[in-house]
């Protein structure tokens, strides 16, 4: 683990693995320190932003270094199941790349349980880890200028859902009608870091 400076009021904690990243995020979030403004996980890092001048970064460090990261505090487990119509434009490409049939690709994608590692790109866009090896595939060489909201795709070690229409370079498997982000909802983001996710074939 490396502690990288990030301005006077934040620290970027670089972790050895995505599991350690998840444990550090859970540890800092669960402690709910009053002067911690943001706990932002990345793929291999956790950014902790504190109130300017609060001088609590040392406390954050004591907390993380004193924690049992093999047994991080677990918040109430949240399992979200998303119904997916597997009709994506890149389904055949994904099947070809994986050397499997389209049905086998769907079975692989629906058979795994995923974890929200981090978000970014757009509000509510969750990067899910746990993708079976044959589905870990490169992004499109030429990103699409418009990917419809609800599109389910994969890129690199991640799978996820586009919360709204945007440009995008992930290979598209299908779509869901679930609302991924709504500022007026009690849970504005359907998927937040640490949540478990399963995909289910719809219809």
């Amino acid at each position: 683990m490396r502690w990288l400076p990030c301005g006077a009021d934040a620290v970027l904690i670089e972790c050895a693995s995505i599991e350690e990243t998840s444990a550090v995020r859970a540890t800092v979030t669960a402690a709910d320190l009053p002067d911690v403004l943001e706990v932002v996980p990345g793929a291999r890092t956790v950014l902790v932003v504190t109130r300017p001048g609060a001088r609590v970064l040392a406390r954050v460090r004591d907390l993380v270094e004193g924690a049992d990261l093999d047994h991080p505090p677990s918040a109430e487990p949240c399992l979200v199941t998303l119904d997916v119509h597997y009709d994506g434009d890149d389904l055949d490409l994904v099947a070809r790349t994986a050397g499997r049939s389209v049905d086998e690709v769907v079975e692989l994608h629906t058979g795994a349980e995923y974890t929200v590692a981090f978000t970014g790109f757009a509000p509510g866009f969750a990067y899910l880890t746990g993708l079976p090896e044959p589905l870990r595939q490169p992004r499109l060489v030429t990103p699409r200028t418009r990917v419809p909201a609800g599109s389910v795709g994969l890129g690199g070690e991640f799978t996820g859902v586009y919360p709204r229409s945007s440009p995008g370079g992930w290979r598209l498997l299908g779509h869901t009608t679930a609302v991924l982000f709504d500022t007026r909802a009690e849970r504005p983001a359907l998927l937040s870091p640490g949540d478990r996710v399963r995909f289910r074939r719809a219809g």
Partner: protein, 283 residues
């Protein structure tokens, strides 16, 4: 209901308060007034709490008609403010009777004027804030002619006794920077950052884009996505840095060479294209 009507928005007028920190883990930028102290001052002049929502007006041009008796103050760079065509001054509380029109001229220096109105702009908040986030499209739409903005109830007493001479933003200034987290991705990060940079016209509420001698990387590739703070100086493959402002993306894969001291951000928010910036890096 108390309200005020938009007659003309100028180039861009956005409702802003102090933003919505606390949602970065869901991919939501902090947003909020780029020149926070200017909005806080405007609010204080009209008797509002610091957190009340006002209007951030890019290059002025904003014209409003009062639909109730209210008090308004305009802050930011020095600018001509008129009441039914008669100059009334910026950085002071101005009383508007119902039906009167207040217009902000174009500032000769700086970029963003802030207008506060007694009671605050009371549009529906989203995620605890009324700020318009231009990256995500969260928050109230940019002001358009004919918009009627609801106002809250006046809370405090306008303070007029401490008129402040507005500061003219400088054409060249120094910006303190703390190096890291990824300064080790660059050749001689401190000395190369300390050269002179020029603000370009590609800048917006997401970030201030700079031109100059490109920073040289000593490593190739991208980082796994990592969290970004406001003030982060990110360096894309072009080597030309950008300073992330309030509507910045919450994660990104290009290395951040250093982070601007928070106290310097309001001045950067007022830096017009062509303004020269010299970073003063500290380890």
């Amino acid at each position: 209901m108390r309200s005020i009507e938009v007659l003309a928005p100028g180039p861009s007028s956005l409702i802003q308060d102090l933003g919505r920190p606390g949602y970065a883990h869901l991919g939501v930028p902090p947003s909020g007034a780029l020149d926070g102290p200017a909005l806080v001052l405007a609010n204080r002049l009209v008797g509002n709490a610091a957190s009340a929502a006002g209007v951030e007006s890019l290059l002025g041009g904003l014209s409003l008609r009062a639909r109730c008796s209210c008090t308004i103050a305009v802050t930011g760079p020095p600018v001509l403010v008129t009441l039914d065509g008669r100059p009334v001054g910026s950085h002071v509380p101005v009383h508007l009777a119902e039906g009167r029109t207040l217009t902000i001229g174009t500032p000769e220096t700086g970029l963003r004027c802030y207008l506060a109105v007694s009671g605050g702009v009371a549009v529906e908040p989203e995620l605890g804030s009324r700020s318009r986030d231009v990256l995500s499209g969260i928050g109230p739409a940019p002001l358009a002619p004919g918009d009627v903005l609801p106002l809250g109830s006046p809370q405090g007493v306008p303070v007029g006794e401490d008129e402040l001479a507005p500061l003219s933003p400088a054409r060249e200034f120094e910006v303190p920077v703390l190096l890291g987290p990824r300064d080790d991705w660059f050749a001689e990060p401190a000395s190369t950052l300390a050269t002179r940079w020029t603000v370009t016209s590609e800048s917006n509420r997401v970030g201030l884009r700079l031109s100059g001698e490109p920073l040289r990387r000593v490593r190739d590739g991208e980082l796994p996505s990592e969290g970004i703070v406001t003030g982060a100086i990110q360096v894309p493959p072009s080597g030309l840095p950008l300073v992330f402002l309030a509507d910045h993306p919450t994660t990104g894969g290009y290395p951040v060479i250093g982070v601007v001291a928070p106290a310097a951000l309001p001045a950067l928010a007022q830096a017009r294209p062509g303004t020269r910036v010299r970073f003063r890096p500290q380890a």
